[in-house]
């Protein structure tokens, strides 16, 4: 459980993500999806108060962001940071430090996988007049070079044009093929459809988990606006 100003933000989250599983979290704005992502990463202000967080059999509830990252968990933000003065090549190399570094070719390949030309971007600054979409792709490239065990992707398609949605889906599949589990927060049914499993979240509660298409359809057809509901839902 996680609360803020007396209000319970996360209050009924039972979630299990398997090895090399792509798991989508679907839900309306304000459902607590991003909060869940931040809590899993251990960000400041998102420390959960009750319950446990088990990663590879180990309780990581009390670990810092850095400690969680070194265990193989990482997060891609919905709106990436700007990083004035930091070159793309240096940013991409940071995550690979823990796994013995990264070669020049691996840096280039990571950019190619997010559809950016290495010769154009590798020596540019992350914050240097890049569009939101370009920074988003660079953020995802930094996850590729890190090779995490669990990649948490908060709306990886936001700021990226619809034409590129298929590339995002392919990229998520690549994470899986490279050995990562992926928790992806999304509004896109295309991304949810490419998942192995999906969970529907509402008002800080995981309502149900299961087949991604079923969950998507349920969300699309049966979820009523939260503000018109008389009483909050019960946990599944």
């Amino acid at each position: 459980m996680l609360s803020r100003d007396g209000k319970k933000i996360l209050r009924g989250v039972n979630l299990e993500i398997g090895d090399r599983e792509i798991h989508s979290i679907i839900g309306a704005n304000g459902a607590g999806k991003s909060t869940l992502a931040y809590t899993l990463m251990g960000l400041q202000g998102y420390e959960h108060e009750e319950g446990s967080l088990i990663f590879n059999g180990e309780d990581i509830s009390k670990l810092s962001i850095t400690e969680r990252a070194r265990k193989g968990i990482t997060l891609a933000w919905q709106e990436p940071a700007r990083f004035e003065g930091l070159r793309v090549r240096d940013y991409l190399a940071i995550g690979a430090k823990g796994s013995g570094g990264v070669t020049e070719e691996e840096l280039k390949e990571a950019l190619r996988k997010v559809d950016l030309k290495p010769e154009k971007y590798l020596d540019r600054e992350v914050g240097e007049a890049l569009s939101g979409g370009e920074r988003k792709r660079i953020e995802l490239a930094s996850i590729i070079t890190m090779k995490p065990k669990l990649a948490i992707l908060d709306e990886p398609d936001s700021g990226i044009d619809v034409v590129s949605l298929k590339e995002i889906v392919n990229l998520i599949q690549t994470f899986k093929e490279n050995g990562s589990s992926v928790l992806v927060i999304t509004h896109r049914k295309e991304i949810a459809a490419a998942s192995d499993k999906a969970s529907l979240m509402c008002e800080g509660v995981i309502l149900r988990s299961g087949d991604p298409l079923e969950i998507s359809e349920f969300f699309k057809n049966r979820c009523i606006p939260c503000d018109s509901r008389v009483s909050p839902p019960k946990a599944a």
Binding site: M41, L43, Q44, S64, I65, T66, R68, A69, R70, I73, T74, L75, W77, P80, A81, R82, F83, E84, G85, L86, D90, I94, G95, K97, G98, E125, E139, S142, M146
Partner: protein, 320 residues
């Protein structure tokens, strides 16, 4: 004034070479005859080499050197001119008077390194008059290294006049070692169609004190300018920034941009001032002082860095 055209070798050259390297320069460039260079240690001129299109005159004074440099009309100097000013001893006074002119339609890049690697009680004063002629271009980068002790006062003062169509770009950087006491005072008069960009980057630590005053007067029609300041201070360091831009002419455009990061018990003050007395001029400003951006720190931590490492990378990036 004595015009010097040959290298003057002395035993101090090795020391200055080492100090120049400590400041981030490549000392080899100071000894290449095809490159213009000027090396001053205390009040001694160790090397003065002017190539075609450059007239370089120096005169040693009691505590420093008077320098007169002229880029002749129409000359585009293809390679940077390297300047090195410094003091090797722990204490002393160095006063540099610089009179620089880039004549009409000329272009040059000056790369200066000011180095005081052993400073315990040093005063370095620079008074410069710089004149950028009609359609001329001057790019001036100045990198300082003051050593680890902080016992130094650096007081650079400069007035720059940019004539019609001229451009002036300056980048002052003091991010390695201690600052000591810095009192930076640059003022610019920008005439019609001229361009001016002034960038300062300083990293203050311990009890360093930083005062930066930059003023640009956009006197001519279509004159454009940017003042960009990036300061990081930590421990008990203090900084004061004043960035002033005045729009006096039609379609003149100016912007003042100051960003400061503070940590520990540091204290920062930033005052962007815009003055406009012509209704067709436009001057804007932004200033931000705060801790390192939380999302940037957490992003790097989520890639496996410790918080201190993350902050270090972010601050160095901002000052790069």
């Amino acid at each position: 004034m004595t015009q010097i055209t040959l290298n003057t070798l002395s035993s101090e050259i090795k020391d200055m070479d080492a100090a120049y390297s400590a400041a981030g320069g490549d000392a080899a460039v100071l000894h290449k005859h095809e490159l213009s260079s000027l090396v001053i240690s205390g009040n001694k001129v160790l090397n003065a080499n002017g190539t075609e299109g450059i007239v370089l005159e120096t005169q040693e004074t009691e505590h420093g050197v008077d320098v007169k440099m002229t880029i002749k009309k129409g000359y585009k100097i293809p390679l940077p001119v390297h300047l090195c000013f410094g003091l090797i001893p722990e204490d002393g006074l160095q006063k540099i008077n610089m009179n620089f002119t880039a004549e009409e339609n000329s272009a040059v890049e000056l790369v200066a390194h000011c180095t005081f690697p052993n400073a315990v009680k040093i005063i370095h004063k620079m008074d410069a008059q710089m004149h950028v002629g009609k359609n001329a271009s001057l790019k001036y980068t100045e990198t300082h290294f003051h050593g680890p002790h902080g016992g130094i006062q650096v007081i650079p003062k400069s007035h720059i006049k940019i004539e019609e169509g001229g451009s002036y770009y300056t980048n002052f950087s003091l991010v390695s070692g201690r600052v000591g006491y810095l009192e930076f005072d640059y003022s610019v008069d920008a005439e019609k169609d001229s361009i001016c960009e002034m960038v300062t980057k300083v990293y203050g630590k311990k009890d360093d004190k930083i005062k930066i005053l930059e003023k640009i007067s956009l006197n001519g029609e279509n004159a454009r300018s940017v003042i960009k300041s990036r300061l990081a201070i930590t421990d008990n360091a203090e900084s004061e920034f004043r960035g002033i831009t005045e729009g006096h002419a039609p379609r003149s455009r100016g912007h003042v941009d100051c960003m400061e990061v503070i940590q520990g018990n540091a204290k920062a003050e930033a005052v962007p001032i815009v003055r406009v007395d012509n209704p067709l001029a436009k001057v804007t400003h932004e200033a931000a002082i705060g801790c390192v951006d939380k999302k940037e720190v957490e992003t790097l931590m989520a890639r496996g860095l410790e918080e201190d490492e993350a902050i270090d990378i972010i601050v160095k990036g901002m000052l790069a």
